[in-house]
């Protein structure tokens, strides 16, 4: 047992922290969940992605042949942890983490050429068109249809909750190509140009008031056959396929740690009833509890990364890390809001808002953390059924 990062990884961490310190001005730091970017931050995110790409860091986990550095899982942990802690806004994560790796595994040479280097440079943005109004947790029930017609597919249907679809150049689409087959066996993945006639995007405003996700309507959108990635009707298995990059959720935990550190600064600077809040025994207990749980979450994530680095495939272990980290992110904000008291209602940008209104925004944005990318109920089902082998019925 040795729970340290290697000297090389620590050196990389130092280099990265210094780089982020120099290159990310405080006003460009995102909210804790990156769901409330201003137009300036959004611009910055695009430019910064390209800077990271120039350093070789944006897709460091990719194989060298596709412009990556074949970075080890633990090095990725360091990267994701520090990026999360500094709340660096990013626009390319869908392409870098989901679409690129899928194209590497399942795409043809022509697709690899067309997409991979553009994604790796931070030049092309994908959105994910998976969820539908009637297909959320039960994703495989989705109904958006793609029907073969000559050298194309005609797509009809509706996607919803697609993050940043209004900015994306492509949609990573999961659509039904065989309505007769069992529900998991009739789905196919496509890389669809968002400029295709018949596609309409309608942004949806979040609880925060931000424009983050969208509806996408497909009305007889004609998609060329070469947009199909991988094998027809194997889309579900491709989408769920094991991904060999770090996916423990450590970035979110690091963001929670940052929120805690912001709160620590606040309680040291703030007097209430004549004593600093940091001397209030209840506040001390609450913050220590958060610190403890953040450490638990961190180690649960490290376990997932360690399994991956040993070539093992995490199953319930990643659900455990996720559900713990997701719920903890909410708890940090709940506790934070209680500590801020009456001033906690001041919004981000309002002069005098404690912690710059970030905890207030976080209180709202973290609501989504137990919903997006697998609700905590679904994660617990996985832990119980896969991890503990409890019967489905």
């Amino acid at each position: 047992m040795d729970l340290r990062f290697s000297p090389e990884e620590e050196a990389f961490r130092t280099e990265l922290v210094e780089f982020l310190g120099a290159e990310v001005p405080p006003e460009m730091e995102a909210d804790y969940d990156g769901l409330d970017l201003s137009p300036e931050q959004f611009e910055f995110a695009g430019a910064f992605d390209r800077k990271l790409a120039a350093k070789g860091w944006l897709c460091m986990h990719w194989p060298k042949e596709y412009g990556g550095q074949a970075a080890s899982i633990t090095r990725q942990v360091v990267f994701n942890e520090e990026m999360g802690y500094r709340r660096v806004p990013s626009r390319s994560s869908m392409g870098i983490n989901i679409v690129g790796p899928a194209i590497m595994l399942y795409g043809n040479e022509e697709q690899k050429k067309r997409y991979l280097s553009a994604i790796a440079r931070g030049d092309t943005e994908f959105c994910q068109g998976f969820s539908e109004p009637n297909s959320g947790s039960d994703l495989a029930s989705l109904r958006t249809k793609a029907v073969e017609d000559g050298d194309s597919y005609i797509v009809n249907g509706q996607k919803i909750w697609s993050s940043r679809a209004h900015h994306a150049s492509y949609c990573w689409l999961l659509a039904r190509t065989d309505p007769e087959a069992p529900k998991h066996k009739g789905l196919t993945t496509f890389a669809v140009d968002m400029k295709t006639p018949g596609i309409t995007v309608r942004p949806i405003v979040t609880v925060l008031g931000s424009t983050h996700f969208c509806e996408i309507f497909f009305d007889n959108a004609r998609v060329p056959k070469d947009a199909l990635v991988g094998e027809k009707n194997r889309g579900w298995y491709q989408a769920m396929g094991t991904l060999s990059f770090e996916r423990s959720g450590i970035g979110r935990v690091a963001s929670s740690r940052r929120a805690l550190d912001d709160l620590i600064v606040y309680v040291k600077q703030t007097q209430r009833n004549g004593i600093p809040l940091s001397q209030d025994p209840i506040v001390r207990q609450q913050l220590a509890e958060l610190q403890t749980e953040i450490e638990v979450a961190r180690l649960l994530c490290y376990r997932v990364a360690w399994m991956q680095s040993k070539g093992k495939v995490p199953s319930y272990e990643s659900s455990m890390a996720r559900v713990f980290g997701q719920e903890l992110s909410q708890k940090v904000m709940r506790v934070g809001m209680k500590i801020l008291g009456l001033a906690g209602q001041l919004l981000h940008g309002v002069p005098g808002a404690p912690v710059n209104g970030n905890v207030t925004r976080g209180f709202l944005s973290t609501i989504s953390n137990t919903i997006r990318s697998g609700t905590s109920e679904i994660q617990r089902n996985i832990i119980a059924q896969r991890g503990l082998a409890l019967p489905r019925r």
Partner: protein, 379 residues
Amino acid sequence: MDFDLNEDQELLKKTAREFLTAECPSRLVREVEKGTGYSRELWEKMAGLGWVGLPVEEDLGGSGAGFLDMCLLVEEIGRALAPVPFISTALCEYALIDGGSAEQKKRLLPRMASGKLIMTPALNDATLSFHPGAIECGAAKKGGGYVIRGAKLLVPYGAIADAYLVATRTGGAGENGITLFIVDRNHKGISVSPVPTIACDARCHVQMESVEVGRESLLGREGDGWPLLKMLLRRGATLTSAEMIGGAQAVLERTVAYVKDRVQFERPVGSFQAVQHKCANMAGACDGARFVTYQAAWLLSENLPCDREVAIAKAWTSDAYTRVCLDSHQAHGAIGFTKEYDLQLYTRRAKAAELAYGDTRHHSEMLADLMGLGVSKSL
């Protein structure tokens, strides 16, 4: 980064599991509860296997194993609820290794390693706090030695231990002026009264009326006992966490087995989502506890800074074990509320372990300090 145990550690765990499964059935645990709270036979067998001597160097009759190895063994002890003064003796062995004179080590460690001399820390005074300021029991110089006056409460295995490691105050306040002594239980002036406790683990109040001891009883330097005691408390918190992760895992496994088997509404109750999610929470509590505990144990093994990690381990694990037990009771229904069913053996010990060597509140307070919130005025 490497979470793996090495081959020797895996083997130690496996051997301990097999041995304790055979030698420490719940029948034994129950019998012992009615008596002294301790099984001499089991203790002697464990000493015979060399386990009691694990921390002690080879020249003095031990095997000089690392602290992580100790924690792995204690994890199995926690799983089996083995009624033996293992943590107590180990903590005293470590204290002697850290701070004992050559003469003390030679005199005491071989006997401790072989299980013939059981020693237990006697730390708590009237306030029952683990903070250094709580140590009141006085020791004053007299002739060439000292005279100790005071009471130590809730001493683990106090009635069956052969000697106590007593924390006293020879002056000063807080961390200053703490002095440690090793005192025989049969020493003149000592009286021991067992107190019934939730875990039936033979805790005692130890009354010391003018106990006169010689210089050879002093452990370390007069007035400078805090670093030794602090180290003991770190190890105590971590070993207790190890005990708890063993117990918690056993409770989780038992619960999962039960809910798979128990049928209501023509299906296993474990197929109900409300039950599944409870089990998922228990699993998260157990795995989280294991990693924070291993982290603290590994840091201690490597002599790396560990105050933060030890506080986190004990703070989390203390809450987690009790929570796991209470969730397990719910998942079991009425059967889990009976004395006959073994779950209660764990629940009562979970509570005792939660309180030993600092509860969640205590360690959270230490952590708050380490987080830069300043030392609390309330201490």
